[in-house]
């Protein structure tokens, strides 16, 4: 079967985020870039599907040269080939233009299942997966924690949690699934895997190669514009609850929550 995993490179979640002097972007100097954690679940699930059904796993991403490292990570995990769209025209694009770019990159490839992380931990937009499915005119199921593909019947059954319940959903193939924690435990790349990854094909494309115009992507094509980034409201240490014993502290705390904070 043919499987595509879309990935994004993001700042590691341990990163401190500082706003750049332009007021619209972040300082990138000290950032450690990693594959978006939710996308790792997609790569892992793609590899599991391949192990079960045979086939090819293609990893697709949009971004500058540093993104090559994250694609190589996926190749070292076991993916077969990579496609990276590198074009200054895609810079500062919103979810809509990234979905559009990805759609153009994958529309002529064979695919049964496309994986996207349910959201990227940088801009937290949680949009690209569903938008990409819409643009490709295929169904999608988001936030999947379990999936089972029946290739012969050309369908997938997936479980997704919603508030207070789990939906067991069935869809025809091809399908796009967005992945989240709980679906699997992504493997680490083995040393032989890392060696092999260096020889696996990794194509670089420009937007013109995908049949897109520069003004349709990146900042120019974006529907959403960032006006300003703002630091979060600073929380400072409040009071330490005093007391001779833990019981006394507990009693004082409950009293404070009731009478001072008026929260319980």
């Amino acid at each position: 079967m043919d499987i595509i995993a879309c990935i994004k490179q993001v700042p590691d979640t341990e990163s401190q985020i500082k706003i750049a002097p332009d007021g619209k972007s972040i300082v990138q100097n000290d950032i450690k870039w990693v594959m978006n954690p939710y996308d790792e679940f997609g790569v892992e699930e793609a590899l599991k599907l391949k192990a079960k059904n045979g086939g090819t796993v293609t990893v697709v991403s949009v971004g500058p040269k540093r993104v090559t490292e994250s694609i190589r990570t996926a190749l070292a995990m076991g993916a077969d080939k990579g496609i990276r769209v590198e074009d200054a025209a895609t810079d500062d694009g919103d979810s809509f233009t990234i979905a559009k770019t990805l759609a153009a990159a994958v529309k002529n490839l064979p695919y049964d299942v496309i994986f996207c992380g349910q959201r990227a931990v940088d801009d937290d937009e949680a949009q690209v997966g569903a938008m990409l499915a819409e643009m490709l005119n295929i169904p999608h199921i988001s936030l999947v924690v379990k999936e089972e593909v029946d290739l012969a019947a050309k369908k997938v059954t997936a479980e997704k949690p919603i508030e207070g319940a789990t939906l067991v959903t069935e869809s025809s193939l091809p399908v796009l699934l967005t992945t989240q924690k709980g679906l699997n435990e992504p493997r680490y790349a083995s040393l032989p895997g890392i060696m092999k990854a260096k020889k696996k094909p990794l194509e670089t494309k420009k937007v013109a190669d995908l049949g897109l115009n520069a003004e349709d992507v990146g900042l120019a094509g974006s529907k959403l514009q960032i006006m300003a980034l703002i630091p979060p409201p600073q929380r400072s240490a409040g009071k330490i609850v005093e007391g001779e014993t833990p019981q006394e502290k507990a009693a004082t705390l409950v009293k404070l929550l009731r009478e001072e904070a008026k929260i319980i």
Partner: protein
């Protein structure tokens, strides 16, 4: 020309969800500011009788698509039906709640309508007749003010953030029935089963009170004391990444940048040191309490109330104290 505010309401088992009242209240505030009307959309099966009452929250008109295929949410069918309503009514602003369903639906719909979407917003306002949305990024390590250059300007609002206006039961909305016009292509996904969680379990993103436990809980069996406190405070239990990675709690309980970003009124962190990715996920809470043996734990720098003591002594004592007053 696009005008007015439209709010997509969410129902579950035929009941309107609380987040819809939050969005309607916010939508009405924006509509008043624009001097325009607010309309609403309600999809489901056998739900038409719920529509007129949305007038109490300020909707002048409610578009209702009542169709057996819309009984349970699926992205394509809902996006198709709402897309048809939006194309006809042409609202300037289209809002829904950033619930699990709202996030999924809004993204698919924005793709269909080729418009911009501000996801999971905490503040919406009007400037020069346009929507300006504030939304947390990096799980709250920064906020972005964004605008949308296309119509409708779409936004979803984070649960528990927008204030619900007291309803005016004397007001009733005009109900406009519309056809969903679903084709086989819109029904490629179907829900086979809705498996309900244990009764009474409140989702972290919608909880007013969260009692959360980390590595300091020492093992899964000890979460009972947090469950007890949460039960008294009518809250729910969360966990840090290390507790989830250790297999003590389910993934759906995780608070933080790779888990859920939460905004309860009260967040009680028990045995959680305060890793940066955890702090990002809970710093939007109104009041934060930290209980930890280690007085140097970073969590105390973010806590409104800190208790330096053994959580195994403090938490059960809190439960007893809370029982006296709740």
């Amino acid at each position: 020309m696009a005008q007015g505010v439209m709010v997509v309401c969410e129902q579950r088992d035929g009941e309107i969800r609380k987040i819809s009242y939050e969005v309607l209240s916010e939508g009405k505030r924006l509509a008043d500011k624009l001097g325009a009307e607010m309309t609403a959309v309600l999809l489901g099966s056998g739900i038409a009788d719920k529509a007129a009452a949305l007038g109490a929250y300020g909707a002048s008109k409610v578009f209702v698509a009542d169709d057996p295929n819309l009984a349970v949410y699926t992205a394509e069918a809902y996006a198709k039906a709402i897309g048809g309503i939006v194309n006809q009514a042409d609202p300037a602003i289209l809002l829904m709640g950033a619930s699990v369903v709202g996030k999924d639906l809004s993204a698919r719909l924005a793709g269909k309508l080729s418009t911009g979407l501000a996801m999971d917003c905490t503040v919406l306002r009007i400037e020069d007749g346009r929507l300006v949305a504030t939304r947390p990024i990096y799980a709250g390590k920064a906020f972005a003010d964004v605008v949308i250059s296309s119509f409708p300007q779409m936004a979803t609002t984070r649960p528990n953030v927008m204030t619900v206006t007291p309803p005016d039961p004397s007001k009733s909305a005009e109900v406009v029935k519309v056809e969903a016009n679903l084709s086989a292509d819109d029904l490629r996904t179907k829900v086979l089963e809705v498996r309900k969680d244990a009764a009474g379990k409140i989702d972290l993103t919608e909880a007013d009170v969260i009692v959360s436990g980390g590595r300091g809980m020492k093992g899964p069996e000890n979460y009972k004391i947090l469950e007890d406190l949460a039960a008294v405070l009518k809250g729910t239990v969360g966990a840090s990444r290390s507790a989830v990675d250790a297999g003590w709690r389910s993934h759906s309980d995780q608070v933080g940048q790779t888990g859920k970003v939460v905004t309860p009124n009260l967040y009680i962190a028990c045995g959680i040191s305060g890793a940066i990715q955890h702090l990002a996920g809970m710093s939007g809470s109104k009041v934060i309490v930290a209980i930890n043996k280690d007085a140097d734990a970073p969590i105390f720098q973010k806590a409104d109330y800190g208790v330096v003591a053994d959580l195994f002594d403090v938490v059960p004592a809190m439960t007893e104290e809370a029982k006296k007053i709740m």
